[in-house]
Symmetry: C2
Subunit: 142 residues, 2 copies
């Protein structure tokens, strides 16, 4: 990995901005976090994959319309940068209120960032739930 | 994206090799597919994240010991390369036999590859199930 510590710090900041935008439930702020290309992709927990900025933007609009409150505490944040592409894994510890239902849950996320003229922008978000037992592969050994 | 079509083709081949290694249930073949660094990570569906090659390798050993048969048909394979880091998203349509139980299921995967002296090696695999309805975010709009 030909990464610099300043790159990693900048990527971690971009990752933090993503979750701050999510917490504000403000589509304009979320738009500033993402790249807007056709190669942009997003997997919300349990959803089919969304491909292209239009589909990804639309999903955030739907989520924000249906969410009253969303608070993240991130743990296990690990960032690596390699040239103009970087990846972050983290655990999203989430407090949310959707349709009047309060929920506290943990989600694993892989976030990919691409460096362009405007800095590091999100190009892929893959989030999934941690289950008590894995469905068709065996139980974890760690 | 400063990617070349030959890079993308090579990454797609590396992605195919990963699933062929998975189908053979042969740990030695799986070892050849992955980078062996401490930055290597893996999320099997529903599992907690595994960090570092030793933990990732051990998970494959456990899975292979507990799996009688595994057959993949990949769909929606999309690869992008940016310098020496590349990412692939795909749907794994899986036929498996675990503990005598046959299952057919669909899993979404994000696979990250890093180019080193030995070509493109897997550094991160994030796989998760597609659910009928998303648990705490709203239904998809596509």
């Amino acid at each position: 990995m030909n990464e610099g510590s300043s790159d990693v710090a900048a990527v971690e900041q971009a990752n933090t901005r993503f979750y701050l935008a999510f917490e504000t439930l403000d589509l304009a702020r979320m738009e500033l976090v993402w790249s807007h290309g056709e190669h942009v992709k997003c997997v919300h927990p349990g959803w089919p994959i969304l491909v292209g900025w239009d589909a990804v933007r639309s999903s955030w609009a739907t989520i924000f319309e249906n969410t009253a409150e969303m608070r993240f505490t991130l743990s296990d944040v690990r960032a690596s940068a390699c040239g103009d592409l970087a990846w972050v894994t983290c655990t999203e510890n989430i407090f949310s209120e959707v349709h009047g239902r309060l929920a506290v849950t943990s989600v694993l996320a892989t976030n990919l960032f691409e460096r362009g003229p405007e800095g590091w922008r999100l190009v892929h978000h893959h989030a999934s739930h941690i289950l008590a037992a894995a469905p068709e592969r065996d139980s974890p050994n760690n």
